[in-house]
Amino acid sequence: MRRETIHAYLLLLPAFVLLVAFTHWPVVTTLIDSLYATPHGGRPPPFVGTDNYAGMFDDPVFWQALSNNAWFAAATIPTSIILALLMALAVNEALPGRAVLRMAYFLPTMLPMIAVANIWMFFYTPDYGLFDRIIGLFGGGRHNWLGDASTALPAIILVSIWKEAGFFMIFYLAALQTMPTDLKEAAALEGSSRWNYFRRVTIPLLMPTTLFVMVNAVINAFRVIDHVIVMTRGGPDNATTLLLYYIYETGFRYWDTSTAAAATVVLVTIMALAAAFQFGVLGRRVHYR
């Protein structure tokens, strides 16, 4: 073997061992484990084929977790992306107090999700919380925001939007700052309205950023459950159980690792589809600089 090849493999080895051991290999073993029964004692678990999947598909909680997660994604992703874009546009203009404003938008990103959850839990407290106080001013009554199955998921969604929008803003801001100014001057000479310019020039030029942000938002919608653990523990009545929370609960509270493996396969498939979507369908349509 050539020296350069040996050197290259040696340089790659440490990072590769760790990457494969904690990302690639676990994906493979998850798939294998999902086909075997949960091990008990020292005996090797029997092969059960698709039984774990059948059992999981019979579990209404799994379907609820999936549908909760779909609603969660459908609500958080577009809202936080639109807010992020508006924030970036605002901060990109020469507004008074621009630096303070940028900090205000970005600050939630720097907080741990668990800290954010603690703060918001206080807002959602019946009677004393900020929400009930404000509603009280308008003559509204007491409401248990996190304890009511109809408002618990929206409450969680609101927290996620607050936390994420400022993070995505950064990427739009970066893109806006690299946008050529001569386009804007040309459009102004042509007498094009600002709205028209925004719609015809800014939005299309921001497409790669939107795509990047979207994929990140999808991944986050299925990856972050810290606030669920702290605020609701999936309740009430599984109203806030997201897919990863379902995995966490089956795997580490009921120690049903086979079902957890089957659910992880579903989750990884969703993420892989998001990735394939990025590189495949959208990748070809998007205008790249």
Binding site: F16, M110, I114, A115, F122, F123, V230, I247, A274
Partner: protein, 274 residues
């Protein structure tokens, strides 16, 4: 004239909107600061003359071993950062400047981790760490994140922009592979290291789920897990103290952010442009 006036009007409207959103965004944090630094009686009603107090902070600090949690978090992020810098630098250099069979395939395999993160592979990684007899250690929290596709990718992109003549000159002076990497590539990639470092530190300072699963004692728990344990078991509903603890755990990162705001924002931008 009309156009200018209407432009000024719409501009004013936009400023107003931007500021209203900004205030709305700041409100939760301002409210938390208010609660943490006032007596519990003022936690739920606003009075500009309410007395300031550090009693909540003191009570929270003493109610749980936060100094130990802080130490654990500092050790954790230092360990992760150091390992990531070394491992990613070596791998990124190989991908950027060496030719070897299977390079593109291996690089694609690395990039897979950008999509499927170790965060979701809880059960299997837990099993692996237990088999290594490493459960409930700080190393165990760090292990899944030490090989970082994001870091390798970011550094490779930077190394690719290093002019080849610089590399050749170092080679002519008799520098070996590692010497060239250390003397030519690493110094030129400093902004990337800062950017990646800030992103990595803030990610792992705030990480919660994996540390929650893999730690089980005071000597290993990072701040986030310590805070969760404290808020759910020890306290119940004393919001002033819980909020004080919450701010306390986020404070080091928040203060660092406020001091180096520009650096932080630019780092996140740099890390995001792929």
């Amino acid at each position: 004239m009309m156009v200018a006036a209407s432009n000024r009007f719409s501009h004013g409207l936009e400023t107003l909107g931007a500021w209203m959103l900004g205030i709305l965004w700041m409100l939760p944090l301002l409210y938390a600061v208010w609660t943490a630094f006032h007596p519990a009686a003022f936690a739920t009603h606003f009075d500009p003359l309410a007395p300031l107090t550090f009693a909540n902070i003191e009570a929270a600090w003493q109610a749980a071993p936060f100094s130990r949690y802080l130490l654990n978090t500092v050790m954790l992020v230092t360990l992760i950062l150091a390992a990531q810098f070394v491992l990613c630098t070596l791998a990124a250099f190989a991908f950027a400047r060496l030719t070897f069979p299977g390079r593109d395939v291996l690089f694609a395999i690395v990039l897979l981790q950008l999509m499927v993160m170790p965060d979701v592979l809880l059960v299997e990684n837990y099993r692996t760490v237990v088999q290594l007899h490493a459960a409930d250690t700080i190393l165990a929290i760090a292990l899944p994140y030490l090989g970082s596709a994001f870091g390798i990718f970011l550094l490779r992109q930077t190394f690719l922009t290093v002019p080849q003549p610089l590399d050749d000159a170092a080679r002519l002076e008799g520098c070996g592979l590692l010497a060239r990497l250390w003397r030519v590539y690493v110094p030129l990639a400093k902004p990337t290291y800062i950017a990646y470092g800030l992103v990595s530190v803030s990610y792992h300072w705030n990480n919660f789920l994996w540390p929650l699963i893999i730690t089980n004692s005071v000597t290993t728990r990072p701040l986030t897990v310590g805070l969760a344990v404290f808020a759910t078991t020890d306290q119940g509903i004393d919001w002033s103290i819980v909020t004080a603890a919450t701010l306390m755990t986020s404070a080091p990162l928040l203060i660092a952010f406020l001091l180096f705001q520009r650096q932080f924002v630019q780092s996140f931008m740099r890390a995001g442009i792929r």
